[in-house]
Symmetry: C2
Subunit: 228 residues, 2 copies
Amino acid sequence: MYVTSPLNYLNAEPVNPANLFAEAADTRSHISSADAGHTLFCEGDDADFVYEVLEGVVRTSKVLCDGRRQVLSFAYPGDIVGLSHDQFYHSDCDAVSAVKIRVYRKNAYNASYRDDPGLCDQFLRYATAEVSNMQDHFMMLGRKSAVEKVASFLLVLLDRVGEKRNCQTCFDLPMSRSDIADFLGLTIETISRTLTRLRKDNIIELPDPHRVCVCNINGLRALAESAD
Amino acid sequence: MYVTSPLNYLNAEPVNPANLFAEAADTRSHISSADAGHTLFCEGDDADFVYEVLEGVVRTSKVLCDGRRQVLSFAYPGDIVGLSHDQFYHSDCDAVSAVKIRVYRKNAYNASYRDDPGLCDQFLRYATAEVSNMQDHFMMLGRKSAVEKVASFLLVLLDRVGEKRNCQTCFDLPMSRSDIADFLGLTIETISRTLTRLRKDNIIELPDPHRVCVCNINGLRALAESAD
DNA sequence: CGTCTATTTGAGTTAGCTCAACCGTCGTGG
DNA sequence: CCACGACGGTTGAGCTAACTCAAATAGACG
């Protein structure tokens, strides 16, 4: 039922992020590129910019002092990262793959939506949708088994970026096993074992470690909703 | 470091919810009471109302088809529940104790903030702060041990509703062990065992199952940050 | 070709779960 | 007034899903 677990909690369907800043794009933003591994911002930095992913994937995460990490989201093209309720970022943000991003100055942005109730309204819907998606992820982190988590994760990617070919739907998995583990609250070994299990059960194929082809989507859905 | 885990993701300090609807209060809202156990709304219901808790505690939660439940938040006085990005509620909401609530008609509310950029701005800060708090809870659900979860939970309640007396700080625990378990992604037995462990270690006292007195707050903080 | 890193696989351990018993409180009804 | 059942909480015993530690494998890259 609550299979949907967001890649990024900002990817609300009712809002088209490409339009969000459309009119402001020329004057108040610029487009930038970054290689995989590049850090966009760190927790505690001044939140001067808001980023819209245009190509590639970025990751937001938090780290405990002892090194434990929680990945909060994978942001795909159309997603926005770097929003904050105060002047500081509250997570780290790094490029998972080579990325192209649009960078907005936050001041300019703030100025614009104060004068624009329509934009404000859109943004509110965006934020509340993000909250709703995060709540689904709570269920995932708090109450689902390893198989359910991995299956749910693959289903979200499939819906979001899957390319249909013949009877399979395929997509890239640009993030590492470690990223997936820290997103789902598991270990890399459990991710790896679970993926192999899905492969051996003919639910998915893994042409290489960073590419997934789903051959039995109903099987995957069944696993996502209740592990056997 | 990231001990803070929100009771309710709407309890952002920078916004004073009492002021949020202040001017609209007389015409667009009314005050209502409900007994413990009363359901304010269910997932999927039309989201016609927004609720502000005035007294008591309400709980928002989601349930999987097989009965597994995740408690999303405990909303204390000053907190707001029932916000939605579309026309439906996305969680269940019930009174944990006897509550007094202010009920806002959503239509009226929507109408008001479209015309009120200041309110919209406040509300945006509120929503993004909620997101930030939820991200902390992700760390809790995904990466913390049982002891760390319980200790963190108690610390949040202590900060929020603790009454200082002598060298102790005490507060009520109006929700059931089951509620706490479903909030922290644990079982009632683990909650119970962990609380008794804290009691035996002289970190807390439990005058009765629904009342906590923290006698060693530094010990509790240490446990919240890294379990031994 | 050697080194480095990411992933997979194996083996043993354990934190937290399940199942079950027990206890105390409270409300109901004889 | 007491007996009784229901319910929430606690405690015990054993189990298991996921973890830890360790080793093997496979690419990527100089």
